[in-house]
């Protein structure tokens, strides 16, 4: 019985050795000798806007202090190309051209929000505002 066990151990060991030797790589793995490509560079302007829109969804202060000047600049430029001026635009005309939501943000003399921690602009509403600006 002991002899049989010894033979079995040797046979199993021999098989294990053969498998191990076969698995040891005979050639080193292929290497590349080139520095990696640089990281993608995203424009800071865009990254700042992405952060701003996240904040503008939850904060009326962010909308008034940071998003509004951008929208005013874009709306003024688009209206100027049509021969209109945002600063002197009557309320009714502004609502008709820009829509109630966008006009409410960009209208001249918009007061500072009473509740600065109040809700900002929801993404679908902002999408609709941008569509109006793109159409102008």
């Amino acid at each position: 019985m002991t002899l049989l066990a010894s033979i079995a151990i040797i046979v199993v060991a021999a098989v294990a050795v053969a498998v191990s030797v076969a698995l040891v790589p005979s050639k080193p793995s292929a290497r590349r000798h080139r520095p990696p490509n640089p990281e993608p560079a995203r424009p800071d302007q865009l990254v700042r806007l992405e952060r701003l829109l996240v904040m503008a969804r939850v904060s009326a202060l962010q909308v008034h202090a940071y998003l509004r000047p951008i929208l005013v600049e874009i709306a003024s430029q688009r209206l100027a190309a049509r021969g209109q001026t945002l600063d002197r635009m009557p309320d009714a005309t502004g609502r008709r051209i820009l829509g109630d939501d966008l006009w409410e943000i960009v209208r001249p003399g918009r007061p500072f929000p009473e509740d600065r921690h109040g809700p900002g602009v929801a993404a679908p509403d902002l999408g609709a505002m941008l569509e109006v600006l793109e159409r102008l």
Partner: protein, 425 residues
């Protein structure tokens, strides 16, 4: 013998050693018998291992290329040892070079043999690149030991930006009093007909227009527009770029700058260069082919140097911006400092045109749900910025990397013609 054990030999050594330890632990001498051949094999391999004496050289058939062209690198490897060896060859190279074959080459090197391998080198973009040295992983004939060596010298490869052909250039507002290819607005000696007028004392006889004189009954002379040149300063913005993968706005900006430099120098303009970014480099305006090579050499080392330093117009030496020079700013308009610079130069009365290298092709919206909205807002903001610059009298040519530059410059010329009175003010 200062090589490293090969993975195969390390495995065999572990098996032999493990067998001996197992034999001692279990009291089975059969395991020791089984382990002995492995250890003998390891010993014989180590005794016979000889370090291959290798020398190598790298030769390129061309060291100056245009983007898209290929060069052939001939890699010659000599085995000076009287033993065969197995070698794995890899060529170190710069980031923007592609080699074919890309993977290392494995060769069986006979004793005292010389082997030459051809590797194709293809640049992905302009720049001062290098190929080499040769990185060699050598093994002796029994694959017992490995040696890692760096052989051969580094070979410099200069890749010039591919330029476009331009039929129309931005017409400068003011000319300089030296001979060039632009038809001046003043009247003096030249080729281009301007007008006729009555003869005055001091006019030379060869200016007399005999037909007009005969028709009008009195002497008339021909007036002509002079051929003049202008000063052109190329302003390359290296503050920021948009990059995705191997392509970015700086790559395109350098191509546009090289194209404009060659086209203006071909029209005998004096051309200068200001590399305006984290680090400031400049070349004073000059004529000729030598200046073109100076400019291209300077462009090859252009890179985005991150910096918080605020730079303004005062940073540029005054002699680099001659009075009346046409300034062509090649910029993606991504950094507030470059936007302030072009605005400031225009406010000082410089004749300025912006070639906007559009970053839109190199930028994608982020993954967050609100990011596409931010991307749309960014596009609208850039439109507004462009309109603001045009309102200041700065012509803006929007140019995408894959488009031809000519139509964008034609658009600028149309804008400058319509706004010429404001520009001269």
């Amino acid at each position: 013998m200062n090589g490293a054990l090969s993975p195969r030999l390390r495995g065999l050594l572990a098996l032999g050693g493990g067998g001996l330890v197992a034999a001692l632990a279990t009291g089975h001498p059969e395991l020791a018998v089984l382990a002995t051949p492995f250890l003998v094999f390891v010993g014989v391999s180590l005794a016979l291992a000889r370090e291959p004496q290798l020398t190598a050289c790298i030769d390129l058939d061309r060291t100056r290329l245009l983007e898209g062209e290929r060069a052939a690198a001939m890699v010659t490897l000599v085995n000076e040892e009287a033993h065969a060896a197995e070698v794995e060859l890899g060529l170190a190279h710069s980031r923007y070079l592609t080699l074919e074959p890309a993977r290392p080459i494995v060769l069986q090197l006979a004793r005292l043999a010389t082997v030459t391998v051809e590797v194709s080198v293809c640049p992905e973009r302009w720049g001062a690149h290098s190929v080499g040295p040769l990185i060699v992983h050598a093994r002796d004939s029994m694959a017992a030991l490995t040696w890692n060596r760096r052989l051969g010298e580094r070979v410099a490869v200069r890749v010039f930006p591919r330029e476009q052909r331009l039929r129309e250039l931005v017409a400068p507002l003011r000319m300089q009093p030296f001979l060039g290819a632009h038809v001046g607005r003043s009247r003096s000696e030249g080729i281009e007909f301007a007008d006729t007028r009555p003869f005055q004392a001091g006019d030379v006889a060869r200016q007399v227009n005999w037909r007009a004189s005969a028709r009008r009954g009195s002497l008339h002379v021909t007036e002509r527009h002079p051929e003049q040149a202008s000063d052109v300063v190329l302003l390359l913005d290296t503050f920021a770029e948009a990059r995705e993968g191997a392509r970015g706005t700086l790559d395109a900006a350098v191509r546009a700058t090289a194209t404009l430099a060659r086209a203006h120098l071909a029209r005998r303009d004096r051309v200068g260069l200001v590399d305006f970014g984290g680090t400031l480099h400049w070349l004073e305006p000059a004529f000729g082919t030598t200046q073109l090579y100076r400019i291209i050499d300077a462009l090859l080392s252009s890179e985005i140097a991150f910096s918080y330093a605020w730079r303004a117009t005062e940073s540029i030496p005054r002699r680099v911006l001659p009075p009346g020079a046409l300034i062509l700013a090649v910029t993606p308009l991504l950094d507030e400092r470059s936007i302030r610079l072009v605005t400031d130069l225009r406010m000082r009365g410089c004749d300025l045109t912006v070639v906007e290298v559009s970053p839109l092709a190199h930028t994608t919206p982020g993954p967050a749900p609100a990011d596409p909205l931010a991307f749309r807002l960014w596009r609208l903001q850039r439109d507004a910025l462009r309109a603001r610059l045009q309102g200041l009298g700065i012509g803006v040519a929007v140019w995408g990397d894959d488009e031809t530059l000519g139509p964008a410059l034609e658009g600028v010329n149309a804008f400058r013609r319509s706004a010429r009175h404001a520009l001269r003010a």
